[in-house]
């Protein structure tokens, strides 16, 4: 089956005050694919990630020029509600950030404020099962989520993100604070979740980008240097700067 577009940026520039963090970024994100954004610190990859659900709107004195399409709609037009965008394009952060509430409430809260009227117990169970966490927490649903391990907390955050039925999940270095076993579980989960969701992940871990993503885009100083199939990027990149970065020769 031919992949279809889930999101797309066209000639996107982004500014923090007078500093231009993104230059003319045009990139396609395919539905049910994992796209990895890689590049050295300060290259603009996390800025781009936050542009994709208008999280940067929350930072004062920032400006985005250009277009970001989600389901053929430019999300930067005035009639688009950024809160609705963030429901459809969820986000998981570097450090697990569960609410200081019960495991159950972590899942239920977002669904409730989004007007969910169905069977909440079922939604909690389904969301936790999709994140391969149910078996580990089914007897701890009333326990404070902060008492879970770091890896479990991060999977809970992913479960929380998918409980509101997004189309796209943005992940900003989701395993950088986790040990190798927890990292492997998250990576397995990403592969599982991409059947249903489009995933865009920022990572500093080159092996992780190689393992989990279908497409990779390499950024440097706010510019896309090279984007394409992950296998091509990691085995035979076209650009010397890409090769130098992925082989650890700078950055």
């Amino acid at each position: 089956m031919e992949a279809t577009l889930a999101m797309q940026t066209k000639n996107l520039d982004f500014y923090y005050g007078t500093f231009q963090a993104l230059h003319d970024v045009s990139l396609n994100f395919m539905r049910s694919h994992v796209t990895a954004l890689i590049g050295p610190s300060g290259c603009g990859k996390s800025t781009l990630l936050r542009c994709l659900n208008r999280m940067n709107d929350l930072i004062p004195e920032t400006r985005a020029d250009g277009e970001v399409y989600f389901n053929d709609q430019n999300i930067y037009t005035e009639d688009v509600d950024p809160v609705e965008v963030r429901r459809r394009v969820g986000m998981v952060f570097q450090k697990p950030n569960p609410f200081p509430k019960s495991v159950y409430e972590n899942i239920a809260w977002g669904a409730r404020i989004n007007g969910f009227r169905g069977d909440m117990d079922e939604l909690v169970e389904t969301s936790l099962k999709k994140c391969a966490l149910w078996d580990e927490v089914k007897d701890k649903l009333k326990q404070n989520a902060l008492e879970l391990s770091g890896g479990q907390q991060q999977r809970l955050c992913i479960a929380r993100a998918i409980a509101v039925e997004p189309d796209v999940i943005l992940m900003d270095e989701p395993t950088s604070a986790l040990d190798p076993i927890s990292t492997a579980k998250i990576e397995d989960l990403i592969t599982e979740l991409k059947q249903r969701y489009t995933i865009i992940i920022v990572t500093h871990n080159m092996q992780q980008a190689g393992r989990v993503s279908d497409q990779t885009a390499f950024f440097l100083n706010g510019w896309i240097i090279e984007a394409g199939d992950t296998k091509d990027i990691f085995f035979n990149p076209r650009e010397e700067r890409t090769e130098a970065y992925i082989s650890g020769r700078f950055g």
Partner: protein
Amino acid sequence: METRQHFSNELHIMYQDVLQMGTLVEEALRKALTAVTNQDYDLAEQVKQNDHQIDTLQFALDKRCTEIIATEQPVATDLREILVAMKISSDLERIGDHARHVVRVMDQLTDSVFRETLPRFAEMTEKGISMVHDSITSYVNHDPDQAREVARRDDDIDDMHRALYKELLAMIAANPDRVETGTALVFLNRFLERLGDHVTNMCEWIVYAKTGEHVELNKA
């Protein structure tokens, strides 16, 4: 600042190992040819000893490459270079075996009936030596164009092989009491033809290391 200095050093040692292996193989072929031409049995013994050294070097090179992959997680050109070093070392080891095959039939090559084929075997071996030498040069220089040129010379070895094969068959037919001797030389003829194929394989890997594309060089 150059990063991954340790990795770069490891790759440098790997290149040196391939170069050393290539030099030993070339030397083995040269010694084998001299031993046969001069009926030098001491030199022939050295060729056999050299072969152990080549085999040992191949094991060491494979081990080094495997360790680099396990510990350095190479990608792109680095990864291809390591895979290619392992592939080339395997072909070089086989070519080293052919040097041993040459000295093994020393007595047959000087048999009164078959002696006149010696210059043709010598010419094929010389051709093989120059192909090994130049392929290793193209490997060290990361030069796919030179590798392609070297592979084209395999045609000459193939032509020599066909001509010599016919000549040997005619000689065997005319001297049925020398079938065993003649057959040994038919095998040697085949081994030298295979030598050219191994060098062609090496050249294909040299092109692959640089371009990432598998090519079939010199296939009829």
